[in-house]
């Protein structure tokens, strides 16, 4: 049995196809990533899988249960960390967890034991009795991860788990995610628009753009599509250099933009000395700088969609909205 099986899932908002006929499978125990810019349809996909939004077409099974016909079974098998905070600020961390545990029908013994366990996992034990309103953003996100795990879900959904967090907190969250995947064998599905997050965490990544999956594979395989490393060279005059580099046998692909020449090759670090030698042969140009880049998922994204991940205005207005809410609550 698969953890998740999605077939031709579609969701329309008025005329706009937010999710357009997508299909994918998630294996048990896997960390699976949906990578794409804001508004690509990641969150809508997740919302359909967690039974919050009804699809317009297609079908999906979560832990073997149909998302339309077996909602309660699906809900019992999954834990969710939403993109926007979904905690009660007027309760303490422990009370939020206890509320969740009771809602999922855990008995008293299990509740006590599990609250301790999950708080330990996210290192919040000393803040258990503090009102969530006094938590920092990072602490809130950690508590939400803990809450998502309370009822021993088979699959944990994380919608942009590190959005708006500082680098250190992000690193910590990544460690928790890896730890719980290893320790509790929880299957994890996460959405992100951070390339390095998908690269670091996910065993397989689906690149999603305009509601469609444009590529799906392991990060390593996705990157190998690009044909190895990229060496960027600034040289004057660049036209002359371009002509010379074009003829080198180990260069797989060559591009020129804004006076910079990009060479694709294998094992780029070993090619730099070769380039230095060519420079010394005085072939009518001079190399000013050499920069070696290992391909990232950013490059993969660029390759498949023809653009870099775009930061839309949507995210900005979301942030404003959240700030307003906080102010209103106080």
């Amino acid at each position: 049995m698969l953890a998740i099986e999605v077939k031709n899932l579609t969701k329309k908002f008025n005329r706009l196809k937010a999710v357009n006929n997508i299909s994918f499978k998630v294996e048990k125990g896997e960390i699976f990533g949906l990578l794409g810019p804001n508004g690509a349809g990641k969150t809508t996909t997740i919302k359909m899988l967690i039974t919050l939004v009804k699809p317009n077409g297609g079908e999906a099974k979560v832990w073997g249960f149909d998302i339309l016909k077996q909602k309660n079974e699906v809900r019992n098998s999954i834990g969710i960390v939403f993109q926007e905070p979904a905690l009660d600020n007027r309760l303490t961390g422990k009370e939020n967890l206890d509320f969740h545990a009771r809602l999922y029908g855990l008995d008293k013994e299990t509740r006590k034991k599990r609250i301790k366990e999950v708080l330990e996992l996210v290192e919040l034990r000393d803040k258990a009795n503090v009102l969530v309103g006094n938590y920092s953003g990072g602490m809130q996100r950690r508590l939400e991860i803990a809450r998502g795990l309370m009822h021993y879900p088979k699959i944990l959904f994380l919608d942009e788990p590190s959005l708006g967090l500082d680098t250190q907190t992000r690193r910590r969250i990544w460690e928790y995610i890896l730890r719980l995947n290893k320790k509790e064998k929880t299957t994890i599905v996460l959405t992100t628009h951070y390339m390095e997050e998908a690269d670091y965490l996910c065993q397989r990544v689906a690149i999603i753009d305009f509601g469609k999956i444009v590529a799906l594979d392991t990060p390593a395989n996705l990157k190998s599509v690009l044909g190895g490393d990229v060496i960027s060279i600034e040289a004057v005059p660049s036209e002359k250099a371009f002509q010379v580099f074009q003829k080198i046998s180990w260069v797989k692909k060559i591009n020129q933009h804004n006076g910079t020449i990009d060479l694709n090759c294998e094992q780029g670090e070993k090619k730099i000395p070769l380039l230095m030698k060519i420079d010394q042969e005085n072939l009518g140009f001079e190399i000013k700088s050499i920069n070696l880049r290992k391909p990232t998922l950013e490059d993969v994204f660029l390759h498949f969609t023809g653009k870099t991940i775009r930061e839309t205005e949507v995210s900005q207005s979301e942030k404003n909205k959240r700030a307003m809410r906080r102010r209103f609550r106080r």
Binding site: L52, F82, L103, Y104, G105
Partner: protein, 255 residues
């Protein structure tokens, strides 16, 4: 499954209670309004006699059941507001993805609201003894509590129903005032509805709170327009209908 639903009702109730006990401002605002009404009106109209109605009853004795009814009505708004807050702060999603019956969630919220209302109703009743309010017998208190429960179940249900159809927490009080003020003024909480001209009185007959106030008055001071059992029946039907409507609308909300 049944035990699990009870657990859900309990946990929703428990949450309402915790929040209520911590929100001191809500305590003050909840109790201040009825007390202002009670004290100013009871003393202000102390010397008024309305022909043929009060039978030597003081206005204060006439008024107390009305103020209790009013409190049940106005405080029920909070249940709807708390749903809208949950939606606005994202917490509603947490509830909506849980494997629980929507009706159990609503019953839990309503029972939380009813508990709050009862606390207020009892404090008003007790403090009204200070201003000379007298009841028929101790048994009256039991019947009065029963009436308070059915009135507040009904209006809590209405509050949930309206909140489920709304998105904007700021517009909610405005919409609710559209229901609460007419319901309050037509209910006969402040004056006997028998004195209203017929065309106005017909609004009173449509107002569920009329039967609430009348019933409370009947059981507490022995003065009512209808037999209290009729009042109780009307209220039972009203509250049942509102809880069903509220649960139904709530189960259809998307977050």
């Amino acid at each position: 499954m049944r035990a699990k639903n009870l657990q859900v009702i309990y946990v929703m109730w428990l949450r309402e209670m915790k929040i209520f006990l911590r929100a001191k401002s809500r305590w003050i605002s909840n109790l201040a309004l009825p007390f202002f009404f009670l004290f100013t009106m009871a003393f202000g109209f102390r010397r008024f006699r309305i022909a043929g109605v009060f039978h030597g009853m003081s206005y204060g004795n006439f008024l107390v059941p009305g103020i209790i009814g009013m409190t049940m009505l106005f405080s029920s708004m909070f249940t709807g507001i708390s749903i809208l807050w949950d939606r606005d702060f994202g917490f509603l999603k947490e509830i909506m993805v849980a494997p629980v019956k929507r009706s159990a969630v609503i019953l839990g919220r309503v029972s939380g609201g009813v508990t709050n209302n009862l606390i207020q109703g009892i404090s008003i009743l007790l403090s009204s003894f200070l201003i000379g309010f007298r009841i028929n017998s101790l048994l009256s208190i039991f019947w009065a509590l029963l009436f308070m429960v059915v009135i507040s179940v009904g209006f809590n249900g209405l509050s949930v129903a309206i909140a489920s159809k709304m998105r904007d927490p700021q517009a909610f009080p405005l919409i609710m005032h559209f229901f609460t003020y007419p319901a309050f003024l037509f209910s006969g909480a402040l004056f006997p509805i028998a004195d209203l001209p017929f065309w106005l009185r017909s609004f009173s007959y449509l107002d569920p709170l009329t039967y609430g106030v009348d019933g409370l008055r009947g059981v507490l001071v022995g003065f009512s327009q209808f037999p209290p059992i009729l009042d109780l029946s009307v209220l039972l039907i009203f509250s049942l209908a509102m809880v069903i409507l509220g649960s139904w609308l709530f189960s259809r909300t998307e977050v």
